[in-house]
């Protein structure tokens, strides 16, 4: 995927799959395989933000977790800085994890309520032996300041903070071990608009100051457009479109991406809109449709029998613009 002139990707994900086996029924037990992530490939360059968008159940969160091996991938490969993450064990894996962190969606359940904020931020420093004693205290105070919290807050507990402040604590915790890559899993979806903007700006500032790369997972397309360099759209465990943010939002190629963008309510009552209303629900990832997984809901005029049979590959249709649709011509 990468031309020789480009720098090496920081993260290289190839054909990543995560299937969960679900047991149903009490008397007649049936096992069914849920294909949460079903063959996902992408790169993240150093300092780049890749947005990962899609609706509930599309596999975006599982993708983020499988990369960090917070869930074990079923198959595929993940290379970080050239090293095969899936082959690492024990101490090697732990050392590598210092460089890859995660910020979770829910600022209420992702912080231990019995630990002070200082202890939460300090834990990583201790585990990775980055600082101890007074040096660690100093570092914790610096980190809190860096995310916009008063250093005196180190002695307080999570419940004493608002949602936005807690999300800042989560970010300070991720930064404490000086990662080069952070998976941001819906980091602002639980926050009110006014506070959401504060946290988005903070993430953008930190990225610039520390040359961080993000995998920014979100269902809010406007937030992702604001922060991402490139965007991947997921549907039923597959990446269906991937492009520079600008290209994807201005000229989406996939019928699904078009419908998704057109469904976002716009805060402009006079705006002329052409809304594509998709019919029906997202099918179950336990029983994905044959061929193109989007075909049952697709409203593309050229949709035909081939769409129900051919699994569309993610192809480069225009420079840097990939789409998985057999009806979108190359050079589109």
């Amino acid at each position: 995927m990468s031309a020789p002139a480009r720098p090496a990707p920081l993260l290289q994900v190839r054909d990543l799959r995560k299937h969960f086996t679900r047991t149903r029924g009490v008397v007649r037990r049936e096992h069914e395989v849920v294909r949460a992530v079903d063959g996902v490939s992408f790169d993240v360059m150093p300092g780049e933000t890749l947005g990962l968008v899609g609706e509930s159940g599309c596999g975006k969160t599982t993708t983020g977790r499988a990369i960090l091996r917070l869930v074990e991938p079923t198959s595929g490969s993940v290379h970080f800085d050239g090293r095969d993450l899936l082959a690492l064990r024990g101490g090697d894996l732990r050392r590598m994890r210092r460089r890859m962190q995660i910020v979770f969606q829910d600022p209420f359940s992702s912080l231990n309520p019995r630990m002070t904020v200082g202890a939460i931020v300090r834990e990583g420093l201790t585990i990775h032996r980055l600082a101890e004693g007074e040096a660690a205290d100093r570092r914790v105070r610096q980190l809190l300041e860096e995310v916009g919290l008063r250093p005196e807050y180190a002695g307080r507990y999570p419940h004493e903070f608002s949602g936005g402040q807690r999300q800042r604590v989560g970010i300070a915790r991720a930064l404490s071990v000086e990662p080069s890559f952070i998976v941001c899993d819906e980091p602002v979806s639980a926050l009110d608009v006014s506070v959401q903007a504060q946290v988005v700006n903070l993430l953008a500032d930190l990225r610039r100051e520390r040359q961080l790369a993000y995998l920014f997972i979100a269902h809010d397309l406007a937030v992702v457009e604001h922060i991402a360099d490139r965007v991947a759209v997921m549907y039923l465990g597959h990446i269906v479109e991937l492009a520079r943010a600008r290209d994807l939002y201005r000229e989406p190629l996939m019928p699904y991406t078009r419908a998704l963008l057109s469904a976002v309510p716009v805060p402009d009552p006079g705006a002329a809109r052409e809304r594509i209303i998709l019919h029906g629900d997202v099918p179950s990832p336990a029983h994905p449709p044959s061929g193109c997984v989007f075909h049952p809901r697709c409203q593309h005029p050229a949709k035909d029998a081939a769409c129900t049979q051919v699994v569309p590959p993610l192809e480069e249709k225009a420079p840097g613009h990939f789409a998985a649709c057999i009806k979108v011509p190359a050079g589109a």
């Binding site: 006014s194 953008a204 397309l221 406007a222 939002y249 201005r250 976002v264 309510p265 402009d268 629900d281």
Partner: protein
């Protein structure tokens, strides 16, 4: 404006908690005309959901609707009715759709039973007639194979389908007013588009009024004809939808619009509103927004702003209406940024 269907006057709903008196709704006034959709927007803790529950008198202790509040509906003060008269209004004249259909539906009854129950209670319909009406209603709200779906339980349906069931229940008696409290917040954006379209269609068909409560300014822009912005338990700005988005007056409304990331509008940084919403046990004196406002001056601390008229149908609780020269700060640019 025609005689309003619903007029809320100086509504105060307080919660008497160990941490003090939480003045969740604290002086709310608003009106809804027949056939109109009014959007109520605000962030968590602004009092929008408690206002909805207050209209139906569903606030339970330690919450209490304070004396002096008035909720006029079809000419009667709901707060003066006895419980029996109120029951005749709930579900029949005013119905409600909640954010989370999974918790609002009963998990041990089929959805058909739950929709039919509305007709059995309010119209004394027989079991068979109620069931038939329920299936017809499920069909009307776009549930495929309604005969079969009616026999299913809530957990067997998707989030979007459950919300359709909630809407079917709410509309069984063809109410004059539908209160929809964040009806699409738990749904994905493509499903949200389906549900909003359905609500708009049904509203036209039944000629009902809708009070739509949401945190999403985009949803309001697309569905409401008038908007009420709530902050600190009161309405800080009310306007026709076009005026509110084109010429927001209150610094809070402007801040909200500027803080929203928008599709196709690329900016270096998002504007923010500093600080967080104050606790309802301790609204600041004077203007409740002044701690976060870039234009605030002495008067804002000294005097709780009254409702100032800005234009026909447009009012704002901000002293800037009197002293516009004092407006400053980054939020003065308002929500109107140039489209990229």
């Amino acid at each position: 404006m025609a005689e309003p269907l619903l007029a809320i006057e100086d509504l105060r709903t307080y919660f008497y908690t160990a941490a003090g008196v939480a003045r969740a709704v604290d002086g709310l006034s608003l009106a809804v005309a027949p056939g109109e959709t009014v959007g109520v927007v605000g962030e968590s803790g602004c009092g929008k959901s408690v206002s909805a529950l207050s209209i139906l008198r569903l606030v339970s202790p330690p919450g209490r609707i304070e004396p002096g509040s008035r909720i006029l509906f079809e000419g009667r003060d709901l707060l003066a009715l006895d419980e029996r008269a109120m029951r005749a209004i709930r579900g029949r004249r005013i119905a409600m759709v909640f954010q989370e259909p999974m918790t609002a539906l009963n998990p041990v009854f089929t959805v058909g039973d739950q929709v039919a129950e509305v007709a059995r209670i309010h119209a004394r319909a027989s079991r068979a007639v109620a069931w038939k009406q329920a299936v017809a209603m499920l069909d009307r709200v776009g549930i495929p194979a309604p005969d079969e779906r009616a026999r299913e339980y809530p957990h067997q349906l998707s989030g979007g389908m459950r919300q359709r069931v909630m809407i079917a229940m709410a509309l069984m008696m063809k109410p004059a007013l539908l209160i929809a409290d964040e009806p699409t917040t738990a749904l994905d954006v493509t499903i949200q588009a389906q549900i909003l379209e359905l609500l708009a269609e049904l509203q036209r068909e039944y000629g009902m009024s809708v009070l739509l409560i949401t945190h999403d300014l985009g949803v309001v822009a697309e569905t409401a004809s008038r908007v009420v912005v709530m902050y600190g338990g009161e309405a800080v700005e009310q306007a026709p939808v076009a005026a509110l988005f084109a010429a927001p007056h209150h610094p809070y409304t402007r801040g909200l619009l500027a803080a929203m990331p928008r599709l196709g509008l690329l900016r270096e940084r998002l504007q923010t509103i500093p600080g967080t919403v104050p606790a309802p046990t301790a609204w600041p004196d004077g203007c409740r927004f002044r701690d976060r406002c870039s234009s605030a001056w002495e008067r804002c601390a000294a005097e709780h702003p009254p409702v100032y008229p800005i234009a026909p149908g447009h009012e704002s609780r901000c002293h800037l209406a009197h002293e516009p020269a004092r407006r400053d700060g980054p939020a003065a640019a308002g929500g109107r940024a140039v489209r990229a």
